[in-house]
């Protein structure tokens, strides 16, 4: 994978997730971060740190990104969410505008 096509998402604990830009852009917030005309630090380095999102949640979010892409392409499967993650996941979704 080319570096330009990927983006590194870093959780509160410092855990790094490298995923496709395309997948990351499912989030409106991340999309803006990466496409805003001014050269913000995120655009320059291709990595975004989320000090308020835990690793578990960020992992789930990344899974969701890929699931969402597939869903949009017509593959209708269920996305399983563990009940204990629900609240935190929703807060993150609001934040990421997903």
């Amino acid at each position: 994978m080319k570096k330009e096509d990927t983006v590194k998402l870093i959780s509160a604990e410092g855990f790094e997730f490298v995923i496709d830009k395309e997948a990351a852009m499912v989030s409106q917030t991340i999309r803006n971060m990466l496409t805003s005309p001014g050269s913000f630090a995120e655009t320059q380095h291709g990595e975004v740190t989320f000090p308020e999102i835990s690793t578990t949640i960020l992992e789930k979010i990344c899974q969701y990104f890929y699931w969402s892409l597939q869903y949009a392409r017509g593959k209708e499967t269920e996305f399983h969410i563990e009940p204990e993650l629900t609240l935190e996941l929703m807060m993150a979704a609001n934040y990421l505008h997903t």
Partner: protein, 733 residues
């Protein structure tokens, strides 16, 4: 839990999260404010989007949205004021460039600010009914920068000055202009309109008013139109390059009004170069330009049509009433056709075949062709000329072309029945003398007449053709059955004509020579033998004969003469010298015909087989005629034409008119009866109107004549007047 899927979740504020730091809001705002400053100072590269977004997000979540929003307004206003100062300070020509650059900067900054404040845009602004960030940025730019007292008028003036300079031929920076007008449009269409377009249109109107005044004094019509067209194109080009497309209609309207509409009358009537001159000189380019420009103006084309119509009417009227031009009917019709061709071409090339122009042309022709009551006769003569000799050696397509043109003139005629009358006469002469060039052309014309006027109109003409064909068959039969009996006497070719189909004149018989009389009688008995119950009468005034003659030195010639001339010449087989009276007595040819025929035998140079004593041009009652022994000719066959009046003389014309009037009477009566039969009761005016309508394909009946016919029908008890209302007529079955 009855409908779990429809339930919408409301995310409650984070009640468990307590704001620890009371100065939290102030601190967070400082970070954001700093970031906005940095963005405006082109220093954004070090900033973390996530951090800023998170701060804005948290401020909104913690109900500091209002503070965030007002802070944003303040900070942005501050920066715009700075920008404003720097633009104001820019010198002369750099003003627009500076404005443009700052606008681009502001736009970019605005984009970034909107991105980091996205969460506020999404949640706080709709619920607090505030203006979204992007729009807020544009509004502030408009209020603070564009509408600042020092910039507003300067901007207008600069833009208008640039347009003025471009109009006078200078090259300006169109890209910059486009950016600036685009900015005004982005700020809202009313900003563009109020701050630029309105003034632009006013200034343009003034400019063109002055310029057109100057042009009209110094240019001729064609040149003026060229200039106006160029200006119009320039304006359209200007719009496409750097103005709002919606301005196009407005600015072209200004140009049209100032440059064309206000000077329309003057242009059209301009001396030596106006519309009439263009028409005369076939200035297709100029006419086309005038058409294209005037089409933009309401009533513009009407003006052109009016002037063109009156011009064509005048020319046409002059043509049809000029006694000089009436001398040669063929030339007269050719002139009409040329006139039509000329204007057809103009309408085709310059007026894009506009229907209204064609209609105007047609109505003009209809108007002036019918001014001259001899037009139908002349058109028929023209056809006669063409079908006799004019079409020899011409291809079929060209024949069709000529015939189509004639039909077009025919359509303009109101008195189509008069044409029919003459056409019949001319056709009869052509058929009987075997002069017609092409049978196909004759038939093609009849088909055209039929499609134009219906079966009735041509049935008699077609009857004439049938007669010719049957006569041929009859003659073949005659010679087949009697050929042996006839020996080597004169050969006879009879054309049996149906009475009614042919324009026969009252029977003017003459005494045929004995040799001819014999064979004529044989034919009569043969014909009546095969067709019982018919009557044959000889139309000696219409026939021709071929004679073999031997002259003084033994040279032989074949003379092609008319039946009358044949009768006269046959007398000279038994005598060398005859007086006029003697000839008249022997032949019993009507006086006028005899004179004409003697004239052609004795007075035409090169064809004078008779000598007249005394020599003079006219035939007198006491003249004597001698067989001309010394007659010579280069040709073996000599055709002796009768001196014929090609076009009708005045009394003949009168006579034909009278016949036409007579023929119309039964047609009008028939029309009245037809109408009354279906209507039963109708008032006078309506009858006249309906009769006119029914008959207009043939002729235009005179209301006075219609009235007379009605009276005649009342006398004969077809109709009666209503007892109460004397204007009403009643049909009596």
């Amino acid at each position: 839990m009855s409908a779990p899927k429809k339930r919408t979740f409301q995310i409650e504020a984070f009640k468990h999260r307590v704001v620890v730091d009371p100065k939290y809001a102030e601190k967070t705002w400082k970070i954001l404010e700093h970031a906005i400053h940095e963005i405006y100072n082109h220093n954004a590269s070090g900033l973390s989007f996530e951090e800023l977004y998170r701060n804005a997000y948290n401020m909104v979540l913690h109900k500091f949205g209002e503070k965030l929003y007002s802070g944003l307004v303040m900070t942005m206003t501050f920066h715009l004021k700075e920008i404003c100062k720097s633009i104001e300070a820019s010198q002369g020509g750099l003003f627009l460039e500076e404005l443009n650059r700052k606008w681009a900067d502001h736009n970019k900054a605005l984009q970034m600010i909107r991105d980091i404040l996205m969460y506020m845009d999404r949640t706080f602004i709709p619920s607090a009914h505030k203006t979204p960030v992007h729009e807020l940025g544009l509004n502030l730019w408009r209020d603070v920068v564009i509408h600042s007292s020092k910039i507003q008028t300067r901007l207008q003036d600069t833009l208008l000055e640039l347009v003025r300079r471009e109009r006078s031929g200078e090259v300006i920076n169109r890209g910059l202009m486009r950016n600036i007008t685009k900015m005004l449009m982005d700020l809202g269409s009313c900003v563009y309109q109020d701050d630029f377009e309105k003034h632009f249109l006013e200034v343009s109107a003034d400019f063109y008013r002055l310029e057109s005044q100057e042009f009209i004094e110094s240019c001729d019509c064609g040149e003026y139109l060229r200039k106006a067209e160029r200006r119009l194109n320039e304006e359209m080009e200007r719009v496409s390059h750097y103005l709002d497309p919606r301005s196009e209609a407005k600015i072209t309207n200004v140009v049209e009004k100032e440059m064309i509409e206000s000077h329309m009358q003057r242009l059209v009537h301009m001396e030596n170069s106006g519309l009439v001159n263009m028409l005369v000189d076939d200035k297709y380019e100029d006419l086309k330009r005038m058409y294209c420009l005037f089409r933009r103006i309401p009533n513009g084309l009407v003006l052109i049509i009016d002037v063109m119509t009156s011009y064509i009417r005048d020319t046409g009227k002059h043509l049809v009433t000029d006694p000089e031009k009436l001398k040669d009917p063929v030339d007269f019709v050719q002139r009409l056709l040329d006139l039509k061709d000329k204007h057809d071409k103009i309408i085709n090339l310059a007026f894009s075949n506009d229907k209204t122009f064609q209609n105007a042309l047609n109505s003009s022709f209809e108007y002036f062709i019918n001014i001259n009551s001899r037009s139908p006769e002349f058109i028929s003569l023209f056809v006669d000329d063409k079908l006799r000799k004019g079409l020899r050696g011409v291809s079929e397509e060209e024949v069709e072309l000529v015939l189509d043109k004639v039909m077009m003139l025919f359509r303009y005629l109101q008195e189509k029945d008069v044409f029919e009358k003459y056409y019949k006469q001319h056709l009869a002469k052509r058929l009987l003398s075997g002069k017609t060039v092409s049978d196909d052309a004759e038939r093609s014309l009849i088909v055209k007449l039929k499609t134009e006027c219906g079966y009735q109109f041509t049935s008699k003409l077609e009857g004439m053709f049938t007669d010719m064909k049957t006569s041929q068959d009859t003659m073949q039969g005659f010679y087949a059955s009697l050929g042996a009996e006839l020996g080597d006497g004169p050969t006879l070719a009879v054309q049996v004509l149906t009475t009614g189909s042919w324009p026969t004149q009252p029977n003017a018989t003459c005494n045929l020579p004995a040799e001819i009389l014999g064979i004529c009688e044989k034919f009569r008995s043969y014909y009546l033998g095969t067709h019982t119950g018919r009557r044959l009468s000889w139309q000696t005034n219409m026939g021709t004969a071929d004679l073999k003659a031997t002259f003084g030195k033994g040279q032989k010639h074949e003379l092609n003469v008319s039946t009358y001339q044949m009768c006269v010449l046959m007398l000279f087989n038994n005598a060398d010298r005859l007086g006029y009276k003697e000839i008249e007595q022997a032949t019993e040819i009507p006086t006028s015909d005899l004179k004409r025929c003697l004239q052609s035998l004795a007075c035409v140079k090169g064809k004078n087989v008779l000598r007249k004593e005394p020599m003079s041009k006219d035939i007198a009652e006491d003249d004597a005629f001698v067989f001309n022994d010394k007659f010579t000719s280069k040709f073996f066959k000599v055709k002796i034409g009768t001196v014929v009046a090609q076009r009708e003389s005045e009394p003949e014309n009168q006579e034909t008119r009278q016949r036409v009037e007579e023929d119309r009477k039964p047609q009008i009566e028939a029309a009245i009866v037809r109408i009354m039969k279906s209507r039963r009761v109708l008032d006078h005016n309506n009858i006249v109107a309906e009769v006119t309508k029914q008959l207009q394909s043939r002729f235009l009946p005179n209301p006075v004549v219609i009235k007379k016919r009605i009276e005649s029908l009342i006398e004969r008890e077809f109709l009666e007047r209503d007892k109460v209302d004397r204007k009403m007529y009643r049909y009596l079955a």
